[in-house]
Symmetry: D2
Subunit: 259 residues, 4 copies
């Protein structure tokens, strides 16, 4: 069992300076906790609750920033893709392609992502059972690409609420692929603020601790210096000032769990 990995960054790319600032702060926090990390950010939010939500910088500028972060910090970078024809150009720059939860059953996207040879982090659809992810992973693996990660990010639980079923982690781990716990989107209240999603930042830490105690391979945590003014997912991002202490706690549980 390899030590816990961190996937972190701002939900949405805002500018190179902003990404650089956050990458620096994440690097500090992760190194202090002894954790390898991946920089995550999106250049396009393709499925906002409403049209009024900000879409992002676009692919060209976004990939340029990710490429710079990758080079300057020497870390792998991850971003999400929304259409089959985006996979190849994105994979030229990023190390890990992410399949959004809503798109986790779209065969063409999964195949196009797989064919790039990049690592693929597939978010489990809010409408899927953990055992359904075996078929999702098999679609990717059919391209010959076995570099798959399966990511829990909450299951639909009534309206405008998700629940994190910790059983999903060992169930998905039976596939043999590493399992990621997304502590940010698991505490989303989808559509809960009318034209945008709400969130419960106070539960990021308890749920992340729970997932690490169960034995996941990586945690996914979005972070920002001022979540409440961030262009998306503000209500569920962790303040960058608090990331260090949170990671220390997770690393300690992880050492116990995997020893």
């Amino acid at each position: 069992d390899r030590p816990l990995m961190l996937i972190a960054g701002p939900c949405q790319l805002e500018s190179l300076d902003h990404a650089r600032m956050l990458a620096g702060r994440i690097a500090e926090a992760a190194e202090a906790a002894g954790m390898a990390w991946v920089f995550k950010s999106s250049y396009d939010k393709a499925n906002r609750s409403s049209l009024s939500g900000k879409r992002g910088l676009g692919m060209e500028e976004g990939l340029s920033i990710l490429s710079t972060i990758r080079a300057e910090f020497g870390v792998p970078v991850l971003t999400d893709v929304h259409a089959p024809d985006h996979c190849a150009p994105v994979a030229e720059v990023v190390d890990i392609l992410q399949i959004p939860a809503f798109l986790s059953r779209q065969t063409d996207l999964l195949l196009a992502a797989g064919e790039t040879g990049a690592a693929i982090n597939v978010k489990k659809g809010q409408f899927l059972a953990p055992w359904d992810m075996e078929n999702v992973a098999a679609k990717i693996a059919s391209t010959g690409n076995e570099r798959v990660m399966l990511c829990e990010r909450g299951a639909s639980f009534g309206y405008n609420m998700l629940v994190s079923d910790m059983r999903a982690l060992p169930i998905m781990a039976r596939t043999g692929y590493p399992v990621v716990f997304d502590a940010t989107h698991s505490v989303q209240l989808p559509g809960g603020q009318g034209a945008s999603s709400g969130g419960q930042r106070e539960f990021v830490e308890p749920l992340a601790r729970a997932a690490v105690a169960v034995g996941c391979a990586a945690v996914f945590i979005e972070t920002h210096e001022s979540p409440d003014t961030a262009p998306s997912d503000g209500p569920n991002m962790v303040e960058i000032d608090r990331l260090g202490a949170l990671l220390q706690g997770l690393a300690a549980i992880d050492r116990l769990t995997k020893r």
Copy 2:
């Protein structure tokens, strides 16, 4: 209040002869019940549970069949689209573009569909609340296209099961757009057979009756001469032999409801 409309056809296009045979049978059943109807079928199943599920005939052959049915039977035709660049070519042939439930939050697809000027039937995501559909409709309406239909097809209820919340029909109707009840996919057991979805055909009729008694504008019912050997959604399609009696019952409830 206009009388109940029917959207019907085989889940997946199999051949022109097959589509023609079913369209003939549906026409008979709908006319006997005094219902206007739309022919529905898919040329590509883009989100099968597993890779082993049949994808379909493809766009070119599919649109050719739909075009023939449209001309021969004088009925509007409906098919689903999965990518923004499919919307314009499909809208040249079909009257109603359908947005699949998993894709109901994908902004680019909704905008591209809206821009064709065709009518759009949006399936409500299994992960959405009925009131969330107002924002979905607004994305389409932002293109100037107000020909929107909102379609209930079940909400996630635990794992591998959906529930039809009949409250969703009046809630979505508050938008002013016509509301469709999809009686076929509401009785799906998603992923319930391992590599494919199961279904509960015996509940199509009770749920359709319930929806009509609540006052929906249209019902969506997939049908086949031999559902158990159909390439997709067999477990929840209605046998074409039983469609006539089912529609008679629905039309009678509809007349009571809308008088």
Copy 3:
């Protein structure tokens, strides 16, 4: 198939005069719709959300009122029981004992109720599947009492919300026992107002119509002249002034459904 029966009354007994006034109004509405009816009311609300909720008049005064209504209006009366030793005294006065949903698995209560020989209306627990009710009915039937009615009143759907699964009606009907649809408690928002439950009165009619179109044996509708000032379940009771029109609509659907 016998015509639809109505179970109606105020959630909670307030006084003889109040019960008499409502019984008179219900009698008018039911007779105009050609429906047989049962007077329902509770003398003790034993499971209020919080201590501050009003409990009721108590067994002695409650049974006296129910007995008077029964005699004056010539209708069967129904009330709920919460402890095994209440069953025998209550059954001396009322025709139908009702088992509350939270208590639908309590063996001693089911047996004590069954042993009275009275008809028993068991509410399906919010935590039970419709097929689980077969075992519940079998507990009662083990006493030799087959006068069982099974009642759908909503299933837990996330927190503080219920959903009415219309499939539950035909599933419970497979037992051979008559199935009741409780349109009042199905629209409850349990605990939704902090110290009491909220409700969605506007959905009583659509859900009742849906249930009748599916083919239930009886509907259960609580009613009050001023629901918003009633001591319990106000947010989901129907105004007595609107009961007549509602019943006319249900009776018409029922005639279609059972012809």
Copy 4:
């Protein structure tokens, strides 16, 4: 923060010898892990899925066994009560009265339990939200008894399945009362075997670890030397041979969490 406490024992009392054997094994395991513990067992299973489920030894013999275990092992004992008039006699023998989840809203039972002055462990109903438990605790506290523990044991998630929402632990902890995580009943599949409940023993450990990492006050784990032949809850009890290792893991996480 006090160290993690253990509540453990066989689901159902079978005989004094059996209880003594298990108490001895639990004592060893708990002491090795440095955990204080409470012996739990039931003398009556009042809400079995079906009549064919074994009810238990009855109150007299049950209390006699619990009293003996209490004296011989010098540990507090816990058992569940199902009727108000059982509370006083049971409280003469046991230290902690437990309110079953289905009965967590029954005011008379909560008051009668509170009035004994004993500690009360209330299971959260499968149909309740974590914030609803504040009103439940207030019913008990109205008797002047503040010795309340609130216990998470799973929330209804579709039919025949529960989900453990780890957010429930910090939410219930806001009341100021200690929070217990029941790792045994949280992995129940209620009604999942037709006439009895199924279970998923393999998830007891991951869920218990998760709950401890989140910071609960106690864990509740039913155990047996041969779960598969036990008279109740076999599918979700832990084999006594495995309890020691499980507790060591939990104690280590607890020390990290509360330091």
